[in-house]
């Protein structure tokens, strides 16, 4: 595991070689029931409680296609600008493994449902178009748990347990063309795909739970001898399996680029093989080589009829497609004046939908962004819940923002209003009423408090009169205290300066 020491620097590798990257992503569909039976799909149930003769592969049981899974797959295909083929078939992929109930996986082989699409990915202000070769449907396998070893891996284990709850959960596999040229674009592609699936509502796309997982195919080829010289043919590729975070996608691809560059520079050949990424060590290691790869003996699944979708069906699905993340970005930069960074930050904080709802409820885009990204995201994080589960609604936030804009609340008062709403004291207006939080605009009371503050601190008043405007702070503080905070600090300051003749 000391190979890292031999590696050329990443920049050195890139100077000589061009990386060629293709990605295969599995997305678990969020259907209520499994791909070929009626069993539920909820994550985290007791092992082997969501099973039936079909997903256990009992003798005599037969699959029936889940129509929702077909519709979801068509949604992904259309959102990825694919052609939805009028006729496609399932195929059996045959191999023996204890977590495969039938010892074959129902998948699609040479007749996938969606072909020839693309997805645009933005990295550092540049758009990269990634070609989509195919989108196909298949069923997930069960999950093996290896017991008795130190690592949880099969090596050293005394026995294994299998949970078939996951067996038969619908998956789509999305395969790209070898169009990606950098680890950053690879990561951005997976992220964009994740956001797309989320926007479509077809998966919870949780990489850490495995509902979105990615395999990265990486090869290197020498850059052309001269800048306009002919491109060299693709090199031999490796496939790094089961990357389960965006960071891992980027790191694993980056590592493979350095590793392959080192091999090639040393005059060695790249072995076509599957590799595993060790997140702790940040390195990939060899798995199965192509020579010992299984012959899957694909053939058309005789238990299922071909999938023949009418144009009407496909067009009906197209008509229901929600806005894509790319379309949304265009809209938000245009209508809201947000930057791409703003949008990325809001998305990262999990508040983009909430912000839009808040704007819809009457807040300005800037106020909505500020409140959700700063105050409310922090509160959610303190409470260890997603922002959407806070007890404050976008309408509440919009109301508060409107009151601030009208000068009826200060930021400080508004935070207290939010406190009240979060504490379950009712909506903003109810909290303001109950807690008496309105800005006091009664000039008589303010005048009196200002006069009292000036009279109570003659030395400070004199300094201010002498031109040291910045010294007014304690006087503002005294007025605010007298008003129990229910005054606008800016207005108080202006009033004091006016009285002291320096406005």
């Amino acid at each position: 595991m000391t190979v890292l020491a031999d590696l050329p620097t990443y920049d050195e590798a890139l100077a000589v070689y061009e990386p060629v990257i293709g990605l295969e992503t599995h997305v678990e569909l969020g259907t209520e029931s499994k791909m070929f039976c009626g069993c539920p799909t909820a994550f985290g149930a007791e092992p082997n409680t969501q099973v039936c003769p079909v997903c256990l592969g009992l003798p005599g049981a037969l699959p029936v296609v889940n129509e929702a899974a077909i519709r979801y797959t068509v949604m992904i295909g259309l959102a990825l600008n694919c052609t939805i083929v009028p006729w496609s078939r399932f195929a059996r992929k045959n191999y023996f493994y204890p977590d495969m109930p039938k010892d074959f996986q129902i998948s699609q082989y040479d007749e996938p449902l969606c072909v020839n699409g693309w997805l645009d990915v933005d990295v550092d202000g540049q758009t990269h178009r990634v070609g989509i070769t195919r989108v196909h449907m298949e069923e997930d396998t069960g999950k093996s748990l290896h017991v008795g070893g130190s690592t949880g891996r099969i090596q050293g284990a005394t026995h294994s347990l299998v949970d078939y709850n996951r067996a038969g959960i619908p998956l789509v596999e999305i395969v790209t063309e070898p169009d990606v040229r950098s680890p950053e674009v690879a990561r951005a592609y997976v992220e964009e795909l994740r956001e797309l699936c989320r926007a479509l509502g077809i998966s919870d796309v949780r990489m850490e739970q495995g509902s979105l997982r990615c395999d990265a195919n990486v090869s290197l080829r020498r850059r052309p001898a001269t800048p306009d010289g002919p491109e060299n043919p693709f090199g031999t590729r490796t496939e790094t399996k089961n990357l389960n975070s965006l960071r891992s996608v980027e790191r694993a691809v980056r590592y493979e680029i350095s590793r392959q560059a080192s091999r090639l520079s040393a005059g060695e050949r790249i072995v076509q093989e599957t590799r595993h990424f060790d997140e702790g060590a940040g390195v990939t290691s060899a798995g199965r080589s192509k020579e010992e790869a299984t012959d899957y003996r694909y053939f058309p699944e005789p238990d299922l009829a071909p999938v023949a979708l009418s144009r009407e069906f496909v067009e009906a699905v197209r008509a229901t497609l929600p806005e894509s993340p790319a379309q949304r970005r265009t809209r938000l930069t245009g209508d809201y004046g947000y930057t791409l960074t703003d949008i990325a930050n809001l998305r990262g904080a999990g508040v983009l939908d909430l912000v839009e709802q808040t704007v819809t409820a009457g807040a300005t885009p800037e106020a909505a962004r500020k409140w959700w990204l700063n105050e409310l995201a922090r509160r959610a994080s303190d409470a260890e819940i997603p922002p959407s589960q806070l007890a404050v609604t976008p309408a509440d936030v919009a109301r508060v923002a409107t009151l601030i804009a009208a000068g009826e609340l200060t930021d400080a008062l508004a935070r207290k209003v939010i406190d009240g709403v979060l504490a379950g004291e009712g909506g903003p207006d109810a909290v303001i009423e109950a807690r008496g939080l309105k800005v006091v605009s009664d000039t008589g009371a303010l005048d009196a408090a200002a006069d009292a503050a000036i009279a109570g601190a003659p030395a400070i008043a004199e300094k201010v009169r002498g031109g040291k405007v910045a010294a007014v702070g304690p006087l503002v503080g005294a007025v605010m205290k007298a008003m129990k905070g229910q005054a606008d600090a800016g207005a108080v300051r202006a009033l004091l300066l006016e009285k002291l003749g320096v406005s």
Partner: protein
């Protein structure tokens, strides 16, 4: 009591409905008959007296309560051991399923229960329905009631033997390449392979998914029609079952008129290889149909000569995948799962080793032969030459049928080239065994329905007459079959089975 067992299924149900006997009385008679003769016939792998009598009592109670009973209520039936039924083991004639009790009913079993049919036990069969003699059963062969030294046919040989030995009036079999029609032919019975997709395969342990079809075995055409009607119809659990109305097979059996029907004699299914005694009975029956008013013509189906070869690529290919699930992981036999030589778990065999040992010990020679054939035919590099070519032949055979049905309403041929051969004669010659299904296989490949009914005797053994019809025209089989049956019975003066030796 024996008289009860010589009634047809229709007469039995009618006698129960009229109160002349009871379902319990009929079931007891069947169980006693099994007790008496099955030691020599060996039609059954499992007899379920308690369950059968309980089901019979339920029928009698329904009658006592004045509920309407169906036309087969209270009639005993032998269920081929390839169907799952709660409360009974399902072995498929294989060691690998020894002791497996399925947790669910096949759809046809559920339909039989609903119809009040009494399943008295599970009938013997060639292992996983692969064979033409029951000699491939892991539990020993069944014997032909006409001559106990001869084969009862297969793979549904136990089902046929049970009906021919008057143990039950009805049996359910499956037909993948002739496995209902050939045993019916050599045992002097009526056997029908319905149109593929006409009867649900859910709970039928698959041999070759695109060919398997469940169907009736009975002593009369009318009884076969009643059982056919009871099990047919669309099943949402089987994606290959069709959503079409079930042809009125019972009505057709009642019409029993061939006047004006165009009957095609398939030239390729009467020539060399067919025993003279078989051809003689066949020709007499054809003449009889002509005398009854049918227009008899000769037709050619030139691609039928490739049917056997195509079948022995398609069926093994599908079986190599279907039988993968017998891997010792979830049900059935498990061999070699002991702790290691040291007595510790550390050197216990791994899952792959257990799978391999179990499959080695649990499958018989013919099953292994076909799994190996199919695995080879689907292998990368061989797929097009074998599986692909076989599918093309299948298409051509379908076209031969389509062309023939432009000028004919039904096609006819002898069911088998010879009468029942002696046990042991062909066990060491698989190809000779395969040739038994020469005339039956084309209907499986094309999907259309076909019937075998007794045409008479040759050397004291039954000869089968095959009628084939276009897909979903199953009723034509019964119309022609009932007419021929009636004419033959009149000429003979009694049903053919009356000539069978008394056991």
């Amino acid at each position: 009591m024996t008289d009860l067992l010589h009634l047809s299924a229709a007469e039995t149900a009618a006698a129960i409905a009229r109160g002349e006997t009871s379902a319990v009385e009929v079931t007891r008679a069947a169980l006693e008959r099994i007790e008496k003769v099955d030691e020599s016939v060996h039609a059954f792998l499992h007899v379920a007296p308690d369950a059968a009598l309980a089901d019979a009592r339920a029928v009698d109670e329904r009658k006592a309560a004045g509920e309407p009973l169906g036309p087969l209520a209270g009639v005993p039936l032998a269920l081929k051991d390839v169907f799952t039924a709660r409360g009974m083991p399902t072995t498929c004639g294989s060691r690998i399923l020894d002791g497996w009790y399925p947790p669910y009913d096949a759809t046809v079993v559920a339909k039989l229960r609903a119809a009040g049919v009494i399943t008295v036990g599970k009938a013997n069969m060639d292992e996983f329905a692969m064979g033409s003699s029951t000699e491939n059963s892991a539990y020993g062969p069944s014997r032909n009631p006409w001559d106990l030294t001869r084969i009862p046919g297969g793979s549904s040989g136990g089902s046929a033997a049970a009906v021919a030995a008057f143990e039950t009036p009805l049996a359910l079999g499956t037909d993948t390449g002739g496995s209902i029609r050939q045993p019916a032919a050599v045992c002097g019975l009526v056997g029908v392979k319905p149109t593929y997709g006409g009867v649900s395969r859910y709970g039928l342990v698959a041999f070759s998914s695109s060919l398997d079809q469940a169907g009736p075995l009975a002593r009369t055409v009318n009884d076969a029609a009643l059982l056919h009607a009871a099990i047919a119809g669309h099943d949402p659990m089987d994606s290959t079952s069709v959503e079409a109305a079930v042809p009125d097979v019972v009505g057709a059996a009642r019409i029993a008129d061939v006047t004006g029907l165009r009957i095609g004699v398939v030239k390729e299914l009467t020539g060399p290889g067919f025993a003279p005694g078989v051809v003689a009975r066949f020709s007499e029956a054809v003449d009889m149909l002509a005398a009854l008013g049918a227009d008899v013509v000769e037709v050619s189906c030139p691609h039928f000569e490739y049917a056997l070869a195509a079948y022995y690529l398609i069926a093994p290919s599908e079986c190599s995948s279907n039988l993968a699930r017998f891997d010792a992981m979830r049900f059935g036999l498990r061999v070699g799962d002991a702790v290691g030589a040291s007595g510790g778990e550390a050197d216990a065999p791994g899952a792959e080793e257990v799978m391999s040992r179990t499959r080695g010990a649990g499958f018989g020679a013919e099953v292994k032969r076909r799994i190996i054939l199919g695995t080879y035919a689907l292998s990368s590099g061989y797929y097009d030459a074998y599986y692909g070519q076989a599918q093309k032949v299948r298409t051509l055979i379908g076209r031969d049928f389509a062309a023939a049905y432009e000028t004919c309403d039904v096609l006819v041929s002898p069911t088998t080239p010879t009468v029942a051969f002696p046990l042991g004669e062909r066990v060491d010659d698989p190809v000779a065994m395969y040739l038994t299904d020469l005339a039956t296989i084309p209907s499986n490949l094309a999907g259309g329905p076909a019937m075998s009914l007794p045409a008479g005797l040759s050397d004291g053994l039954p000869v089968g007459f095959q009628i084939m019809a276009p897909a979903f025209a199953d009723d034509r089989l019964y119309r022609v079959g009932a007419a021929l049956e009636a004419a033959l019975d009149v000429r003979r003066g009694h049903p053919l089975l009356d000539e069978a030796p008394v056991l």
